[in-house]
């Protein structure tokens, strides 16, 4: 186990350096006027120019700039937005809402995805199976930029079941619809993978062994089929987190939730380069760390990985 963790950690360090380098390079390398790019269309005053040059150490060679940027990331110093607010503060305000939203979305996705996927996998070819399968296909094909405004229109404006926007201090109820929207795609993929995985495992030899032991059906399904089927699903959830982040940008924007996503969206729209770079970097780190955690969880669930 220790060897596995160490190997994964080393791999993550390499990936981490690579990804941050890429993000940074995309932003600054070989740019005629990186400052103008950071500031977008707006004119750059000499004052701002000076502040930004200092913030990003643009007078230094590229690798030195990158080193400073890394140092800032690791020490939590993300610099300031174009309007002069510390980016760290903006994030600190936004994170709680995004975490609430994301956890709620993951909860719904896991609940419905695994639940329905299990039933569909156990009853392949039934009406339930075919219906859920068709539904997931539609959901997977629904881009979130379609789903979010349409859900808002139908359940918020027309039916009035949920608030149309979440407001500055969103409560749990206000987050339900956004979370369902955000988690929809994950629900569908989790469902499909669970279904495939369950359908495969139901026919596995060790499930036959479990039945031969005379175990109750409930136990065979929960202890043997489901447990083994969840291993690939866990991995999927890790990868899915990236989509969840992307989705959060749109969802938070549409439902007006003051989270990381909507702040990032605002940054994009106001062309606040420093904010965008800072936020994206942190999100990438979050993504990497969560994937590491998922990998470790994977090792906990599957001893074959642990003893590799």
């Amino acid at each position: 186990m220790a060897r596995y963790i160490i190997r994964r950690l080393l791999q993550m360090v390499v990936t981490f350096i690579g990804t941050t380098f890429v993000v940074y390079a995309l932003m600054f390398a070989n740019q005629n006027d990186p400052l103008q790019a950071l500031a977008g269309d707006r004119p750059v005053s000499d004052n701002v120019r000076q502040v930004l040059t200092e913030q990003y150490h643009l007078d230094d060679p590229f690798l030195v700039q990158y080193a400073y940027y890394m140092k800032g990331l690791l020490t939590g110093d993300l610099g300031r937005t174009l309007t002069g607010r510390p980016i760290g503060d903006v994030m600190a305000d936004a994170w709680p809402n995004t975490i609430k939203l994301a956890l709620l979305a993951l909860f719904f996705a896991a609940l419905f995805g695994i639940g329905a996927g299990l039933v569909a996998g156990l009853r392949r070819g039934t009406v339930f199976d075919n219906t859920t399968l068709a539904l997931t296909l539609v959901v997977v094909g629904l881009p979130i930029i379609v789903l979010a405004p349409i859900a808002q229109l139908v359940f918020g404006v027309k039916l009035g079941w949920f608030p149309t926007t979440a407001g500055a201090r969103p409560d749990l109820y206000g987050l339900i619809l956004p979370a369902l929207v955000l988690g929809a795609a994950s629900t569908a993929t989790i469902l499909r993978l669970t279904r495939t995985s369950v359908a495969e495992n139901v026919r596995a030899d060790y499930v036959r062994t479990a039945r031969a032991k005379g175990l109750a059906v409930r136990r065979v399904v929960s202890v043997h089929v489901l447990r083994n089927s969840l291993i690939p699903v866990i991995t999927l959830i890790g990868v899915d987190l990236g989509n969840l982040m992307a989705g959060a940008i749109v969802t938070e924007g549409v439902f007006n939730i003051p989270g990381v996503g909507s702040k990032l969206l605002l940054g994009i729209q106001t062309e606040d380069g420093p904010l965008v770079v800072g936020f994206v970097s942190v999100l990438v780190i979050v993504f990497l760390v969560t994937n590491l955690l998922v990998d470790l969880l994977y090792a906990v669930l599957d001893p074959r990985i642990r003893y590799e």
């Binding site: 596995a204 175990l215 074959r304």
Partner: protein, 387 residues
């Protein structure tokens, strides 16, 4: 291992005078045999056994009659088991012999009730266990029989063991979930069972995972798992096929020893005549889902009464026939979707006559009491004519 008397549980066997003298089945309440159990909590709690009627005199422990199993496939109905009958008595070892695809594994799984339905359908017949038909039993009651009365050892232990749980956990899973024994007791039981099947350093290995064991050791784990509930009948489905030859012999020895020690009945399913010779009491030979010959092991080896058995015997390498070259049965086993008319073996049979192509031979008793062959022209008769 200490051998102590296992406390007699009160289960619902009718205490009629007749059944007192009936052959006593492995372990339970048998005064003459010392139990191999240590009296942990697991074994002092009365097990919740299914109420299975004790066999009256003359009945078999397991009596399979005219069992038929079909599979619905994309290409048509596959008749995999076509009315086979056999029986096992307490304490006896029966070998079921046949090529792959002859329906032996399906038979075993049908007996245990673990066939995947669909695609499999049990079309008819009876599986009498202690005089009661398992096929018509309520599912919940049948589940009680599974594992507790009849247990099974599968061919490929690597895939038949769940990769994500420690072996000790898997060995005692049924004890914990069905008899509700405590975790600590369960671990002790697991070590005892692993000792019983001769896994070295059992106490250290009890928390290891299946992939950390060698093939032979994994098969021992499978056997320990099957024995956990002390079944009266153990079905071993090709228990040695996936193993090295040297390990094969060890596993067969182990099974034979355990069968005697625990006074179980054993059904040994195999395609390899070589492995059963020393272990089996009787042999049932299957071909295309039918029984083609039944005999005790000496008779069968000495004078096979079916051309197919003859072919099988000729294909076993023997020291005394060194240099003669090995015989093999020409052709391949029939596709269960299109079993030949008449005798299913006729396309491959050197003795086939016109009659074999038209009429299906029935399993007829020949000479001795427990000996039968399904052949219009049994080699014995042929030999006699030639002589």
């Amino acid at each position: 291992m200490t051998y102590q008397q296992y406390p007699h549980p009160t289960h619902g066997y009718p205490a009629s005078g007749e059944s007192q003298t009936a052959p006593v089945v492995a372990g339970w309440g048998d005064d003459r045999s010392a139990s191999w159990d240590t009296p942990t909590a697991a074994w002092t709690t009365a097990p919740s056994r299914a109420r299975v009627e004790r066999p009256t005199s003359g009945e078999h422990l397991l009596d399979v009659r005219d069992l038929r199993v079909e599979f619905d496939t994309r290409d048509g109905v596959a008749r995999v088991v076509n009315g086979i009958s056999f029986h096992v008595d307490p304490g006896e070892t029966l070998a079921i012999l046949g090529e792959s695809g002859s329906g032996k594994s399906v038979t075993a799984q049908a007996v245990l009730g673990i066939l995947d339905t669909p695609p499999a359908v049990v079309r008819g017949g009876q599986v009498l266990y202690g005089g009661e038909d398992l096929l018509t039993m309520a599912p919940e009651r049948r589940r009680q029989v599974r594992g507790q009365e009849i247990a099974m050892v599968f061919q490929d232990a690597l895939s038949a063991l769940n990769p994500v749980y420690p072996v000790g956990w898997q060995i005692t899973e049924a004890l914990r979930s069905r008899r509700g024994i405590a975790k600590a007791d369960a671990k002790r039981r697991a070590v005892e069972l692993m000792d019983l099947v001769r896994i070295p350093a059992a106490a250290q290995r009890v928390d290891d995972y299946p992939h950390q064991f060698s093939g032979g050791m994994r098969q021992r784990v499978m056997i320990a798992m099957a024995l956990a509930m002390r079944p009266k009948l153990l079905i071993a489905d090709e228990p040695t096929t996936a193993l090295d030859v040297t390990v094969q012999a060890q596993i067969m020895d182990l099974l034979a020893t355990l069968r005697a020690e625990l006074e179980m009945a054993l059904i040994l399913i195999t395609h390899d005549l070589g492995v059963v010779a020393d272990v089996a009491d009787r042999i049932t030979v299957m071909y295309a889902g039918r029984v083609v010959e039944q005999a005790d092991v000496h008779t069968l080896y000495g004078a096979p009464a079916h051309p197919y058995t003859r072919g099988l015997l000729a294909s076993v390498p023997r020291l005394e026939r060194r240099g003669q070259g090995l015989h093999s049965i020409s052709g391949t086993p029939p596709n269960p979707i299109a079993i030949p008319q008449g005798c299913a073996f006729h396309p491959r049979c050197p003795y086939a006559q016109q009659m074999c192509r038209i009429t299906e031979p029935t399993l007829l008793r020949i000479g001795r009491l427990d000996r039968a062959s399904a052949c219009h022209f049994p080699p014995e008769a042929l030999d006699a004519r030639h002589a």
